[in-house]
């Protein structure tokens, strides 16, 4: 079970901020999220949305383990 976190408008779209999802890769996790919530899936694929695994931005697909933390980050607005 990976810990999944949504930030900014992604959390508003999904209606949740944090959950646990069973997934063995980042692409698999995206597929599961999109299958469950098409609007969220579209938002995750939108321009400027980045994924961080264990607090490091990843651009390619990566494997996830039981303790992985995956965060989806919309464009950062600054403080």
């Amino acid at each position: 079970m990976a810990r999944v976190m949504l930030f900014g408008r992604l959390a508003d779209i999904a209606g949740w901020r944090e959950t646990e999802i069973d997934a063995s890769s980042l692409s698999g996790l995206r597929d599961t999220l999109t299958a469950t919530d098409a609007a969220l899936g579209e938002a995750l694929a939108g321009p400027g949305v980045q994924a961080a695994v264990d607090k490091v931005i990843v651009r390619a697909d990566v494997a996830l383990t039981a303790g992985s933390e995956v965060a989806f980050l919309p464009p950062m607005s600054g403080g």
Binding site: F7, G8, D12, A71, P75, S77, G78, G79
Partner: protein
């Protein structure tokens, strides 16, 4: 060499006093305090979201790079998260160096980064509802001044 994200309000003067104390070889301390503007009633509350452990780590890397680039003796970033009322301080940055030019440039640079590219997500709650804020063109232009 400190980054602090906090939901509690802070007093800029108290931070400046602590930051400036006991500095025998520091000649210059520059501070920036960012306050939420009331925008003549248009903004009621600002809400800032950070990713703890990620946001502070990234600010820390930018701070360390600035310390090296400008030879800072010390630097401090305190940033509010959560709901922030108009007139409250949202960010405080202080830099210390032997001479003033370095402290000014590093503080200016850190603020440009914090305002335009730091990992925060910002929502404004006003009379017409809430909206997520994106960086302004000016924020981008200011930040690009430092890319050499």
């Amino acid at each position: 060499m400190t980054v602090r994200l906090q939901s509690e309000p802070f007093e800029p003067g108290v931070l400046l006093t602590r930051f400036s104390a006991g500095r025998g070889e520091t000649g210059a301390v520059v501070s920036f305090t960012g306050l939420t503007r009331a925008e003549h009633g248009q903004t009621t509350t600002l809400e800032l979201e950070a990713y703890p452990g990620f946001t502070d780590a990234e600010i820390g890397r930018i701070g360390e790079a600035a310390a090296t680039r400008w030879g800072l003796q010390d630097w401090l970033v305190v940033h509010r998260v959560g709901p922030i009322a108009p007139g409250e301080a949202v960010v405080f940055v202080a830099t210390a160096s032997a001479h003033r030019r370095e402290a000014f440039e590093a503080c200016d640079h850190l603020m440009d980064y914090l305002k335009s590219r730091a990992p925060f997500w910002k929502k404004e709650h006003g009379p017409d509802g809430a909206r997520w804020i994106e960086p302004t063109d000016r924020d981008r232009t200011d930040a690009e001044r430092w890319e050499t």
